[in-house]
Symmetry: C2
Subunit: 405 residues, 2 copies
């Protein structure tokens, strides 16, 4: 199956690479990237794609996928690539990428998001939070190909009774500061859709995506989907690494930014699943919109079906339902929906200029929905902002503007 | 482990049984029940326990558990009790309860709720919905003992590649109208905590709870937890039974009660997981509260940890955090939290009588929370009401009332 239209492919090829970025020694081997990125930091690269462009593709092209990194991009070879299985296993050992690729290939459509997606709105609309100012583009949706971790566990590496967590280790060399380690509950690893992944949208992963191997944990935040995967370690407790213990955790709103040195990270909650969210992609704050106009956006949650999208043009006073676009990959037999959902709302023609506050909120099939006010969910690290997305615009009319006075 | 305090036990024994209920022929064999129930229908019995009493017990005694039925209570014997495994299996067959009990026993703490829990508030606060007027007491929390369905599948009954759903069949005789059939995705059945259950809180199930065997599907609505389980059928599609296809589904708010005959049930969404919810248990609308006072309640979701309880005394304008009570069964190794969470909020002494609107809302560890307004989630069948629970009270003062004028 083609995961991109001919139109999209042509358009994509035309996006030039930015070769101008100055490089320090440590990052000199990073690849060149699309010049459409909104760059938050260059070294390491942390960048997102404007949502107006992102929304053109149901399956996010590798080239446009958000880039979240803590260190330089590795340049690894497929030959002699091994993954080590260690810790609480009946038998530990190594398996080569070659052997993994001989196993049954599974594909899973899954969205991936940075835990800080939509963080910028905290500062814009309520109160500053610590971290990079991600807008709504640190998210993407891929069709990931690889081998199910569960299949590998069943065939080669059975956990002992003491295994409760599965730690993924990737990034730089063993003991290097560039190593990235994090864990998920063993229970989640029994989901066949957790895959050791070597393909996105039918193509090999790029280096930025984690070539030659990464893990995909559908429904979880991107922080758990380790790139350049080299080791899988079965543990009694959660990963004790700094990325796992001192980041991507949730604090009560009483933990203010000014008290950050007092934050008790070890007692805070490790973020796993993503929460339900939705975003208006092709309109930004202050835009003048020529009506009629099709508003477009995405929605996602951690695995339930997105059932209903509510749209408001009056700041949330009244709501009507937007149209959910049919996903060609969905089947009757599907019980988990890890991919994002695209939706559209037709803004009818207005007779005179009108100020509107556009709002969107999603519901899943068990009526989980998003909080109306951003104050409700502020946390000092600015994670998991899923408050109702609000965009103030002026709606104008094509016919009004065409009138000759 | 004792799941009930000595105090609780004594109190419980003192609750008399209601032997006065008139019985028609069809229901003459129903057991007698605690006279504390709020009864919605007598035949079949549909009844809940007042939340003020319910909240006295972290682990709901069988005697006080809500009773939701579509037919008379069966009177089955343990001897020669079999469960049939049929459908998309590599080998079909039967297994006796005796053999099930010889397998590894698992216990899981899990809350259970009627899909219509808190339905009454739709009519009281917004708009009538169809169904029994359950208040907040059609919920309970048990420690369920039994054998993991997954263990049984691994040992005896492996699904074929065509199995996507697991149908549970219980209730009356085969082909009887009293039979109750519903299904869950096979994926969920890989959760070791889905159990074929013969015990609650260390005691055999009562007949009302499904003696001698029922299924417990932690995190799912009670409608999937079939009592008097007699058959497990592996299927390509969801159960086609009337209880599964024509009830416990979600409709858009545009489906009004007046259009009910036009409801397209087959296209509506099957409710599986419960949504996040919380409830004020020991105060009811219009109460006069002598302050200081400890407000008590429950909260739950479909398996994440309840992380934070917000409490408001001004109708939701301002919120502070209530105290989450420590659960003695929780361990460091736990990654799923299927039991309910109990919380308390201390209402400080007021100096003069005050009208207050008490509100509660829960957050889980990924910031899922409850909608503020009940209008947002109305659906014509009144399912899954998880809007912020609001109770109007007058707070008074003990010292004020003791003053002699």
């Amino acid at each position: 199956m083609e995961y991109i239209s001919e139109h999209g492919k042509n358009q994509l090829d035309k996006i030039p690479l930015d070769t101008s970025i100055p490089r320090t020694e440590r990052f000199k081997n990073d690849p060149y990237r699309a010049n459409t990125y909104i760059i938050h930091t260059k070294e390491p690269i942390n960048a997102e794609t404007p949502t107006k462009l992102l929304i053109d593709y149901r399956y996010t092209p590798d080239k446009l996928f958000y880039n979240r990194n803590h260190s330089p991009i590795l340049d690894l070879k497929e030959d002699n690539y091994f993954v080590e299985f260690s810790g609480e296993l009946k038998q530990t050992g190594k398996i080569s990428l070659e052997d993994l690729k001989k196993m049954k290939k599974r594909t899973v459509e899954a969205m991936m998001m940075c835990t800080g997606n939509r963080r910028s709105e905290f500062a814009e609309k309520y109160k500053k939070a610590a971290g990079l100012s991600w807008k709504g583009g640190s998210v993407g949706n891929g069709v990931w190909g690889g081998v199910s971790l569960r299949d590998v566990m069943e065939k080669y590496f059975q956990p002992t009774d003491k295994a409760y967590h599965v730690e993924f280790i990737g990034g730089g060399q063993q003991d290097s500061a560039d190593k990235y380690e994090t864990s998920i509950p063993l229970e989640k690893a029994y989901d066949y859709d957790v895959i050791l992944c070597y393909e996105i949208n039918g193509q090999p992963l790029s280096r930025d995506r984690g070539f030659p191997l990464r893990v995909i944990v559908p429904g979880y935040t991107g922080a758990r989907m380790v790139k350049w995967l080299s080791q899988i370690n079965f543990r009694v407790n959660e990963s004790q690494s700094s990325h796992h213990q001192f980041d991507y955790k949730l604090f009560l709103p009483t933990m203010e930014l000014s008290k950050v040195t007092k934050a008790d990270w070890l007692k805070a909650e490790t973020i796993k699943e993503v929460n339900i969210n939705s975003y208006i992609c092709n309109v930004t704050e202050g835009d003048v919109i020529q009506t009629p106009f099709i508003v477009k956006g995405y929605a996602y949650c951690s695995g339930n079906k997105i059932w209903r999208i509510d749209f408001s043009i009056d700041g949330g006073k009244t709501w009507t339902q937007a149209t959910i676009l049919k996903n060609p990959l969905h089947t009757d037999k599907q019980t988990k929906y890890y991919g994002w959902t695209l939706w559209e709302y037709k803004l009818e023609e207005v007779k005179s200029n009108q100020n509107m506050q556009l709002c969107v909120r999603a519901f899943d099939t068990v009526l989980n929905t998003q909080p109306l006010e951003i104050e409700n969910i502020w946390n000092f690290r600015g994670f998991m902002n899923n408050s109702v997305h609000r965009v103030n615009v002026t709606a104008s009319s094509k016919s009004l503007n065409n009138t000759k006075f």
